[in-house]
């Protein structure tokens, strides 16, 4: 069981990802955008961060960069949720320090197998 921070502004995606991860026995905490996520990581430790890219307030790539500047998050796996269409975004994400990505659309099985890759 791992502690996972899930950051996405879409309620439906958050519900689905969170439900799936919880079914697999993980502990999930949700945040609606980058700003909220940075707030949450102050008081919680996570084994994995999963973040959407396009979000209001602070996007997922900026969040990734900011997390990497926090000592306790230097080596934490960070996965970005992205669409296949944004190859450039993946590279931006990597440059900011993301571990990898999960391409939308994805099904619960794919989500879990990708999460298993980094846990």
């Amino acid at each position: 069981m791992a502690s996972i921070l899930l950051v996405d502004d879409s309620v439906s995606m958050r519900e689905m990802v969170s439900f799936t991860l919880k079914e697999a026995g993980h502990n999930v905490i949700e945040a609606e955008d980058g700003v909220q996520a940075l707030d949450v990581v102050q008081n919680n430790a996570f084994n994995l961060v999963i973040t959407d890219v396009n979000m209001p307030q602070m996007d997922g790539i900026t969040l990734t960069g900011k997390l990497r500047q926090i000592d306790s998050y230097k080596f934490t796996p960070i996965l970005i949720l992205t669409t296949e269409t944004s190859d450039a975004r993946k590279q931006e994400g990597k440059a900011a320090g993301a571990t990898g990505w999960i391409e939308k659309p994805f099904d619960p099985d794919h989500l879990l197998s990708t999460v298993d890759r980094v846990l």
Partner: protein, 662 residues
């Protein structure tokens, strides 16, 4: 870990969220002014679209995500300054949002959406983005690429790969762990690995956060380069990676012993429905039709056999008959679709028209699940829409007028579909002003469509509305007057083998009743004989067959022969007179009267004998000869002979005309 999660539990929330997204898109688009450079508005719209696209794909609504992708591409071009923001562009995007809303509503209700609406906007969006330099990779292309990969794996021969994997020192800072990548690679096939320790520094210089190791890996199996690259996709640029292939073929026998690779299989659920061209289905239907005929011929041939000696044969034949019928029903059902497909077009039309005309209308549907042949369904859409437009345009009054007549301000249009006999019946009724029969008559006389001297019943006057050339320029408004008159509506429906009737009462409203055959290809037929000729009558139209008694007939007003049938008098058509056949009917052989339901009335056709029933495949007379009034087509009988199929409705009309003029 295998976990079974039903995604449909998130559908409600997805739709709710998407409708919110649509509201955002719409209001932000309206706030967008031409020529603006404010990127924040465009970003907000883009985010909403992007979010809908991503979720839609995940929850399996590929149509929604594909369409949103097109909107997103245009928005992306806008925020990259590749598209100038013009009023026209904003309008196109607004109509795209409308279309998206439409697909979402259909998706939510689990119905297919109207493709024409979406296609139109799609084309516009594609045109806009094709004029710019960058284009987002289309989702379809990526998916296709993935499929290809999967296929490659299936056909691929055994291959041996040599991989050199040398991570950069700072690999751990991306959260990646080489051990996990190697473990994943191991799942692909037979695996051997050797670590390279050359770069490990002296102990004192060792930084535990750095990666100093490299690996040489040999892996063998049905593995493609793409599969290997996919394992290392996340560390591309963070390592030195060498992938070399060594071809080595093993015998097929060996390969068969290898277990299949788990995973990477496409979900079977995705293949639950397939697209098939209607040509193929029609061809299949035609073949089944031929099979039905062969079955009949076989039945007849075997009925002459000695039963005891061929009991088994008869058993088989019975079974074959059942199977043939099942096969035929199933084949027919492929072409059947719910009428709802057509009804869906109507709410928007009513909505837009009622606003344009300042009328209040409530729209009510019933029997949406009633199924109709696809061809019939496709062709009934326009007539139906025309009738609804008419109801709104000419029928429903403005709220003020309605109030002054003591009616509720909100008018009502009801559309109902149901099965009646062998027909599907569509009723379009409104509670509007109704049709003024005398006004219709006056117009018809004025246009020389009806002689002034002619005396018409109320019903006949109302039916004048279907006469070609009746509608006048003055009556044509920009709404219902689109160059399609009621005569075209009637003709379209007749072409489908259907009928349309009108009932109207001034001040109360009008009802149009469309009767359509379930299918156009096969029907149950009653075989009848007149003299030495065999005819087929569609079974579903027959009410009953009674012995004919000449004494019960009356000739009324020298116009029509009426027969006392139960408590009413019904018009009678003597088939032998109509087709000029020498009949057997006489004093010693009174003949049989076949009685039909036509609407709520009955008519009778006099024949010599009723022989039997048979499924018949309708072969068009028009295609092979020419259209003959009173005949719906021809068919091949069980004994291989050809018989004509009677078209009861036109037959009785024709008979009435014959008597009228004679």
């Amino acid at each position: 870990m295998e976990i079974d999660i039903n995604l449909s539990q998130f559908h409600d929330i997805f739709f709710e969220e998407s409708f919110e997204g649509i509201e955002v898109m719409e209001s932000e688009l309206l706030a967008l002014s031409p020529g603006t450079t404010d990127k924040e508005i465009i970003n907000t719209i883009f985010r909403a679209a992007h979010s809908i696209k991503g979720s839609a794909g995940t929850f399996g609504f590929s149509e929604i995500s594909d369409f949103t992708h097109k909107i997103e591409t245009v928005l992306d071009n806008m925020r990259n300054d590749e598209l100038e923001i013009t009023q026209q562009l904003i309008s196109v995007l607004l109509s795209a949002v409308d279309a998206l809303n439409n697909i979402l509503i259909s998706g939510k209700e689990g119905k297919p959406h109207d493709p024409t609406l979406v296609e139109n906007v799609s084309t516009q969006l594609e045109e806009i983005s094709s004029n710019t330099t960058t284009e987002l990779t289309s989702r379809e292309a990526v998916t296709a690429h993935r499929h290809k990969q999967t296929e490659d794996t299936d056909d691929n021969p055994e291959q041996r790969w040599r991989i050199g994997f040398f991570p950069h020192e700072k690999l751990f800072y991306t959260g990646n762990d080489p051990l996990r990548l190697i473990r994943e690679l191991q799942t692909l096939g037979e695996f051997a690995i050797k670590a390279e320790l050359d770069n490990v520094p002296e102990f004192d210089d060792l930084d535990v956060h750095n990666c100093y190791l490299g690996w040489r890996i040999q892996i063998q199996g049905q593995i493609t380069r793409e599969q290997i690259e996919e394992v290392f996709a996340w560390v591309e640029g963070d390592c030195r990676l060498e992938i070399r292939k060594e071809m080595e073929r093993r015998s097929t026998k060996d390969r068969r012993n290898e277990p299949d690779h788990p995973g990477r299989r496409k979900n079977d659920a995705e293949h639950r429905s397939i697209r098939v061209s209607t040509d193929k289905i029609d061809h299949l239907l035609n073949l089944v039709g031929e099979l039905v005929i062969t079955q009949s011929i076989l039945n007849r041939a075997c009925s002459d056999q000695d039963i005891e000696s061929s009991e088994k044969l008869l058993d088989c034949l019975e079974q074959l008959e059942r199977n043939t019928r099942d096969l035929q029903e199933q084949t027919m059902s492929i072409r059947m679709l719910p009428v709802d497909n057509v009804f869906q077009r109507i709410p928007r039309i009513v909505h837009d028209l009622s606003i344009a005309q300042g009328k209040q209308v409530s729209l009510e549907f019933s029997g949406e699940a009633t199924e109709l042949d696809k061809t019939v369904l496709e062709k009934i859409g326009d007539p139906l829409v025309h009738l609804v437009r008419n109801a709104l345009d000419h029928g429903i009054e403005t709220p003020v007028t309605r109030a002054s007549k003591g009616k509720p301000e909100q008018g009502m249009i009801k559309i109902n579909a149901s099965h009646e006999g062998g027909y599907v019946v569509l009723r379009i009724s409104d509670d509007g002003s109704g049709i003024n029969p005398d006004k219709l008559l006056a117009t018809a006389i004025e246009k020389n469509l009806v002689a002034e001297s002619e005396e018409l019943s109320e019903m006949q006057k109302q039916n004048l509305i279907f006469l070609p050339g009746l509608s006048t320029a003055a009556e044509v408004s920009d709404i219902s007057g689109r160059g399609v008159g009621m005569d075209v509506v009637k003709r379209n429906i007749s072409d489908l083998g259907g009928t349309v009737d009108i009932w109207s009462e001034q001040g109360v409203g009008s009802t149009f009743t469309i009767r359509l055959p379930l299918t156009l290809a096969i029907l149950d037929g009653q075989i009848v004989r007149v003299g030495n000729q065999i005819f087929i009558i569609p079974l579903h139209s027959i009410r009953e067959t009674v012995m004919f008694n000449d004494k019960e007939t009356n000739t009324v007003a020298a116009k029509a022969e009426l027969y006392k049938y139960r408590d009413e008098y019904i018009p009678v058509t003597r088939l032998h007179e109509l087709f000029n056949i020498e009949p057997e009917t006489g004093n010693d052989h009174p003949g049989l009267l076949v009685v039909f339901d036509i609407g709520d009335k009955h008519v009778g056709i006099l024949v010599d004998d009723v022989i039997g029933q048979q499924q018949i495949v309708i072969k068009s007379l028009e295609n092979n000869y020419k259209s003959v009034p009173g005949l719906a087509g021809a068919t091949v009988l069980g004994d291989g002979s050809v018989a004509l199929i009677l078209d009861v409705l036109s037959l009785t009309c024709q008979s009435a005309n014959l008597l009228n003029t004679g």
